[in-house]
Amino acid sequence: MPDRRETLKIIGAIGTTCAFPFASDELYGQHVHPPPGVQSSYGAAKFFTRDELRTVSRIADLIVPGALDAGVPSYIDYVVNADDGWRKLFRESLADLRAAKFDELSEQDQVAVLEKHIDQPGDDLQTRLFRALKSMTADGYYTSKAGLVDDLGYQGNTVLESFPSCEIPEH
C-alpha cells in the first residue's frame, strides 16, 4: 500500500481531483469531487404578481446591491409561496406600499423608507415586511453563487492534500 508521500504524489498529479489508491475496493476507488453545481433554475414567479415582483426586486437590491442579478427575488417568491403566513403578510403589505406609490419614489426617498423600517422593533405591517425582506434577501444572496462564491470568496468544498498551517507570522 502506498504511504502518505506516494498518496500525495498521486493527488498532486491530478490537481483538484484525487485518486485514492484503493481502486480494487468499490468504496475507496477514485474520488472525484463533482464540478461546482449550477444555480437551480426556478422560472417565473409563482406567487408575486408582476407589480409585486418589481417592488420586491427593488427593495432586495437596495438591501443588498446585486441581489437582483443573483436571483434573490425568485428565492423570496419560493419562500413566501410556501407559507400561508408569509403570503398574507406580503400581499397586504405590498398593496399598502403600492398605495403609497413606493415604486415612483426617488432612490433617496426609497432609501428613507428602508431606513425607517429596517432593523426596527414593532409589529406593524410595514416593519414586519421589511424585517422579512431583510432576512430573506440576506439568506438568498449569501446562499447564491454570486453572493457566497463570487462576493464572499468561499473556497471550501475542495480536495486538500493536507490542512494548511497558519501562515500569519505572529500566530
Binding site: 502506498p2 485514492f20 428565492y75 444572496y141 470568496g153 490542512f163
Partner: protein
C-alpha cells in the same frame, strides 16, 4: 416451519449496534442486525459536495434525489447517526464516571476508568482516531494518529485563553489524518456532517458492518425494519423482536437467544416502554420504574463572534474537518458554586453557513461591505455542560400522537434546575471572557437559552436494581438476556462528546455476551 433463531438480535446499526455486531460476529456469534432505515452507499447516496444554490430553497437535502434514508427519527439508515456525526472522540475520565464520589452530586457509573480503558484503546486501534497526547488527568490520552493543525482562529483563541490560564488543545476525532486502516485520509472538504463519501471519517457501516460481512462472518442485516416490540416469554426471557417493514408496513419477526437494544438514546427508551407485557406492564425491564427517568442530555450555547485580527483579511480555505480545537474542562479544578463542569467546542459550522448575515445591522453597500469583511473572521464557540439527573427531565410516550407506523411518539421533558442554570451562566461568562481576551467582537448568543444536544440517559446502568435499569455490563437487571447499549445507559453524561464511550461500552458488552454464549448461559 421453525423460524431461524440467531444468537444475538441487535436493534439499530449506529455506533453501538454497528460495533457490537462486528465484534460479536468476529467471535463466531450468529448476529441479526435489525435497522429501521435502508442500506445507504456512502460513496454515492449523500449530497456530500452539493452547494446551497443548487436547490430552490437553498437547503441541501441529506440524500441525493431518489436515494432513501435519513428521513425521520425512526428510519435513518444502516450506519445510524455515524454517517452524519462530527466524529469527536474523547475518553471519559474517572471524574466523569464517578461524579457522585467526587462531589456528592448526580450518580456514579458502576464502572471505573480502568474498566473502560482497554476498550477505548481497542476502538482507537480499530477505527483510527487522530489527536495529540496532552497528558491531562481529566482527558486521558489514547492511541492516536497525528493531530490536524489548528486554524488561525483557534490559535488566536489559544493565545487569549492562555492569558486566563485556560488550555486549548487539538480536537480528537475518529477521522483519519493519514491513510490508514485501508481507508484514505481526510481531504478537508469541510463536509463531515453531510456524509463523508470516502469514509475517512468513521461510520459503522463501512468500518464495522460491511467488512465483517465481507470477511465471511455470520452477520445478517435486516434493513428497513422498524422494530415496534421486543418480545418476551412467560419464563422471563426475551425471544426476539417484531418489526414493521418501512415501505410495506408489513409485520415481521426476528428471533434470537439474546436481544441488544441500540437504537439511540430516546428511541431505545421508547422501544422498551412500548414493549409492554404481562410481566412488564410498564415497559420491558422496567420493574424499577426508572426507565425514561434520569434523562441527561448535554446542554449547550452557541456564541457567535468575529476574530478582529481576521476582519478584512483575505479569505482562506480553512474548512478543514470542521472543528480543529477544543477547550477541555477546567472548572472542575476551580472554586465554583455548582457541580460538574463544561468544555468548549470550536465552530463546527463550515463557511457555507452565512446565516449570521441576516442579523448584521444596516443595508446597502455598507452592509454588504461589513458582511464581506467579517466573513473570514466568523467563528462560533460552543460550550457544552453536564446536566445532573433530576425528576423533571425525562422521556415518555405520547399515545395521542402516532407516527407513520402507528407507534407513539417519544416526548422529551427537559427542565434546567439550579445547578444547570448556574453552570450555564458560568460557561457563557467564561466563553465571553476567553473570546474577548482573544480579541473577538462578540456578535450574538450571549442571551440565548441553552439547547440540548447529545441525548443521554433514560435507561441507566447502576449497581442498585431499584435505582437503575441495567447492570455494569449493560444487561437488564430484570431480564437476563436483554441488553441495552447506547447513550441511554449513561448514569452521568460528562461534558465530553459521548460516542467514543458508547463504542467502548459496545466492545465491552460484545465481549461479555460472547463469553456468556460460550458458557451456554443464553
Amino acid at each position: 416451519m421453525a423460524a431461524r433463531i440467531y444468537d444475538v438480535v441487535i436493534v439499530g446499526s449506529g455506533a453501538a449496534g454497528g460495533t457490537l455486531s462486528a465484534h460479536l460476529a468476529k467471535q463466531g456469534v450468529d448476529v441479526a442486525l435489525v435497522e429501521g432505515g435502508p442500506k445507504v452507499n456512502t460513496r454515492t447516496d449523500f449530497n456530500t459536495h452539493a452547494m446551497p444554490f443548487e436547490f430552490p430553497n437553498r437547503h441541501i437535502p441529506t440524500m441525493k434525489a431518489g436515494k432513501p434514508g435519513y428521513d425521520s427519527e425512526r428510519s435513518r439508515g444502516v450506519g445510524g447517526k455515524t454517517m452524519l456525526w462530527n466524529a469527536v472522540a474523547w475518553r471519559f475520565s474517572e471524574r466523569d464516571l464517578r461524579g457522585k464520589d467526587y462531589e456528592d452530586a448526580g450518580e456514579n457509573w458502576p464502572l471505573h476508568y480502568r474498566d473502560l480503558a482497554p476498550y477505548y484503546e481497542k476502538i482507537e486501534r480499530e477505527v483510527g482516531v487522530c489527536g495529540n497526547l496532552d497528558h491531562l488527568e481529566d482527558l486521558p490520552d489514547g492511541v492516536f494518529l497525528p493531530p490536524v493543525p489548528m486554524k488561525c482562529s483557534d490559535l488566536l483563541v489559544k493565545r487569549g485563553a492562555a492569558k486566563l490560564g485556560v488550555r486549548v488543545i487539538h480536537v480528537r476525532k475518529a477521522t483519519l489524518s493519514r491513510p490508514s486502516h485501508s481507508r484514505p485520509a481526510c481531504h478537508f472538504c469541510g463536509n463531515c456532517m453531510a456524509g463523508c463519501d470516502v469514509a475517512a471519517k468513521y461510520n459503522s457501516a463501512d468500518v464495522h458492518i460491511v467488512p465483517a460481512q465481507k470477511a465471511g462472518y455470520k452477520l445478517e442485516v435486516f434493513p428497513n425494519s422498524v422494530v415496534r416490540e421486543v418480545t418476551i416469554s412467560t419464563d422471563n426471557r426475551v425471544t426476539g423482536v417484531k418489526y414493521l417493514n418501512r415501505e410495506t408496513k408489513r409485520e415481521g419477526e426476528v428471533r434470537g437467544r439474546c436481544v441488544v437494544v441500540s437504537c439511540a438514546c430516546v428511541q431505545s427508551v421508547a422501544l422498551l416502554l412500548m414493549s409492554k407485557s404481562r410481566l412488564y406492564p410498564n415497559g420491558l425491564g422496567n420493574s424499577s420504574g426508572e426507565l425514561g427517568q434520569n434523562f441527561i442530555p448535554h446542554f449547550t450555547g452557541g456564541i457567535q463572534c468575529f476574530m478582529t485580527d481576521m476582519i478584512g483579511k483575505p479569505v482562506t480555505n480553512d474548512e478543514g474537518f470542521l472543528d480543529h480545537a477544543y477547550i477541555p474542562s477546567f472548572m472542575h479544578t476551580r472554586k465554583r458554586d455548582y457541580a460538574r463542569s463544561f468544555g468548549v467546542q470550536f465552530g463546527y459550522n463550515n463557511r457555507r453557513s452565512v446565516g449570521w448575515a441576516r442579523s448584521m445591522p444596516g443595508f446597502g453597500k455598507a452592509y454588504k461591505q461589513s458582511v464581506r469583511e467579517r466573513y473570514p473572521a466568523f467563528m462560533q464557540f460552543s460550550p457544552y455542560g453536564e446536566m445532573l439527573p433530576g425528576k423533571h427531565t425525562f422521556i415518555d410516550l405520547d399515545y395521542e400522537k402516532l407516527d407513520g407506523f402507528g407507534l407513539p411518539l417519544a416526548r422529551r421533558h427537559v427542565t434546567y434546575m439550579e445547578n444547570e442554570r448556574k453552570l450555564y451562566a458560568d460557561m457563557i461568562r467564561w466563553s465571553v471572557d476567553i473570546l474577548k481576551t482573544s480579541g473577538a467582537e462578540i456578535f450574538s448568543g450571549t442571551d440565548d437559552k441553552p439547547s440540548t444536544n447529545h441525548e443521554l440517559g433514560g435507561c441507566r446502568m447502576g449497581d442498585d436494581p431499584k435505582r437503575s435499569v441495567l447492570d455494569a455490563y449493560c444487561r437488564s437487571h430484570d431480564v437476563p438476556n436483554l441488553y441495552v447499549v447506547d447513550g441511554s445507559v449513561f448514569p452521568g453524561s460528562s461534558e465530553k462528546n459521548p460516542t467514543h464511550t458508547i463504542m467502548a461500552l459496545a466492545a465491552r458488552t460484545a465481549e461479555h455476551i460472547g463469553d456468556r454464549l460460550k458458557k451456554g448461559e443464553m
